[in-house]
């Protein structure tokens, strides 16, 4: 990931990005909600799906639905080919060195739990330390707390400043010979902060610690190169990347995955089974017990094709300009305070409004057709850090427009009227 949006000297990047045409690719956007045009600003919760993804899933069910990998018949071969083609697309998308390093899971949460229970239980012992940050989603806190309870390891937390930036000098102090694993969010879902993960991986390397990155909010918005980052594990979800729900990816370095015990037992993950002994399958299948989400995997492949066609650099540049616009407009409102003002930010506008609870704000915006998220965003420690119970969060995608940001601001005027 680049630390800032790529600039195109002499050219207007926003103008080159034909949002009106792109919006036609997303059937759901063309509707009214509560009598108003839908303004969908809840992309960090889940993103909308382009027609090509919906079609890929429908085509699979309509023409080749069958179980994969062991079928002798034609449909099974077609489904297997398409599912495995999706795996190759994922490999190229995050630039993994080997195809077998791409494990399909249900989502980011399952990917992290897999590492905690397989890698963690095999490699982490009483007295060892696991480091996370103060801005983690609950899915990158609770699996480690469970592991700590099971092993007697200790969880350490990297603090952040008032802007929502991690304190690297404090991180350096936490690292030590006991540090076995660092598990960090690449882009914060609650604050939008883009963490300097490449530097933080290198710092962990100095102590021989392994690193997992939670990329759920990163892969939809910026190029990710796992070899360049040099992380050991990288997890993300399909549904935030304009793909289907129920499918996600865990990348792991091959030599680590080889040495790890299976996460779940069952079909698919075995080479041979007798009641005396079971031989496990090769990577990645060792970690893919049971019939997978075949349609979801194929849909994810179509989503990656779509994003690649648009270009993540262009997506990032457009979303940055949109974020800048939204930040400016919200900053001009005297009764609104933005939570999360890191210098490196992704398209997330978390905010609170004087005298109005975020839930009331969300209900009033919904009446205006505007979908945002309100609450703690599954990051209660972040709310505690800022001394607030909840925030309202508008999260952007490349199909959002300046007009939609204007609608949000107009909606906030309406909130002020109601609570005036």
């Amino acid at each position: 990931m680049t630390d800032s949006a790529p600039s195109t000297p002499g050219g207007p990047p926003a103008a080159e990005f034909d949002v009106a045409r792109i919006r036609h690719d997303f059937p759901i956007l063309d509707q009214t909600v509560n009598g108003k045009p839908l303004v969908y600003l809840d992309n960090a919760a889940t993103s909308q799906k382009p027609r090509s993804v919906i079609d890929a899933v429908a085509r699979y069910y309509e023409t080749e639905n069958s179980n994969i990998h062991r079928g002798i018949h034609t449909l099974s071969q077609m489904a297997t080919d398409d599912y495995e083609a999706a795996r190759s697309k994922v490999q190229r998308f995050i630039n993994a060195a080997n195809l077998e390093e791409i494990i399909f899971v249900r989502g980011t949460t399952e990917g992290i739990n897999l590492v905690a229970q397989s890698f963690g239980r095999a490699n982490i012992q009483a007295g060892d330390e696991i480091i996370v940050s103060a801005m983690e989603h609950h899915s990158n806190i609770v699996p480690w707390q469970i592991l700590c309870q099971q092993t007697g390891a200790k969880l350490r937390v990297i603090p952040m400043n008032d802007a929502g930036e991690l304190l690297l000098d404090e991180y350096e102090k936490l690292l030590g010979p006991r540090t076995k694993l660092v598990s960090l969010v690449h882009v914060s879902n609650a604050l939008g902060t883009i963490n300097p993960v490449k530097t933080m991986v290198q710092m962990a390397r100095g102590y021989g610690a392994h690193v997992l990155l939670d990329g759920a909010q990163a892969v939809p918005h910026c190029p990710v190169d796992v070899q360049d980052l040099d992380c050991d594990f990288y997890a993300f979800s399909g549904h935030k990347l304009y793909g289907p729900t129920g499918v996600g990816v865990l990348y792991g370095k091959a030599h680590l995955l080889e040495a790890m015990p299976p996460y779940q037992g069952g079909g698919e993950m075995i080479k041979s089974v007798t009641f005396e002994e079971t031989l496990y399958n090769a990577l990645p299948f060792k970690f893919e017990a049971g019939t997978p989400n075949i349609a979801g995997g194929i849909g994810l492949g179509a989503a990656i094709d779509y994003v690649n066609d648009l270009g993540l650099d262009r997506i990032g540049a457009y979303e940055s300009s949109l974020l800048e616009y939204g930040t400016r407009l919200l900053s001009d409102l005297s009764n609104v305070r933005i939570i999360g003002t890191a210098s490196q930010k992704s398209g997330i506008l978390s905010f609170v409004m004087d005298g109005v609870h975020p839930h009331d704000l969300g209900t009033i915006l919904d009446a205006e057709g505007i979908a945002i998220r309100t609450g703690h965003h599954c990051a209660q420690p972040v709310m505690q850090r800022f001394g607030i119970p909840a925030t309202a969060r508008a999260s952007l995608a490349f199909y959002n427009t300046r007009e939609e940001i204007d609608a949000l601001v107009k909606g906030l005027d309406r909130v002020s009227e109601v609570f005036g």
Partner: protein
């Protein structure tokens, strides 16, 4: 969906900005805590019960306008009531939140009727009932935190 005006009625907004009985009691006979894990709303209800009558009621906590107004009107409504009539109001309120066509005792509900619009917003019903779950826990003498889940 009904209009926003039905949800955020003047009287509700007034209870939100100036909640009644928004205080702890010095010597409560019953206290209970309520929590909505979905949104983080939290309320503590304090009651002073003497000879089967709620002689004082207060609440503390944080939440949205609907949960705060509901708690405010609730304490106003049950204060001075016998346990039996407080139970009657609680039951009427619960029915107002679950059945839009219920035949309700509006005399008993009083200002609480202004929360009737909430039933049209399923995601917000838990906000309105949090204080009432907590009141019931206090009346039952349950010390554990109750949740809306």
């Amino acid at each position: 969906m009904s209009s926003l005006g039905d949800l955020y009625q003047e009287i509700l907004l007034e209870h939100n900005s100036k909640p009644r009985n928004f205080r702890t009691l010095d010597d409560p006979t019953e206290t209970a805590e309520g929590y909505n894990p979905l949104c983080g709303d939290q309320v503590t209800v304090y009651l002073k019960i003497q000879d089967g009558v709620i002689t004082d009621a207060g609440f503390q906590g944080m939440g949205c306008a609907i949960s705060k107004a509901s708690a405010s009107m609730m304490t106003q409504s049950v204060k001075g009531q016998t346990l039996e009539s407080a139970g009657h109001v609680s039951d009427a309120f619960r029915r107002m939140m679950t059945d839009p066509d219920a035949d309700l005792d509006y005399d008993a509900l009083g200002d609480l009727e202004s929360l009737s619009g909430v039933v049209e917003y399923p995601s917000r019903i838990k906000c309105a009932v949090l204080a009432w779950h907590t009141l019931n826990a206090a009346l039952d003498g349950r010390g554990d935190t109750v949740t809306t889940e």
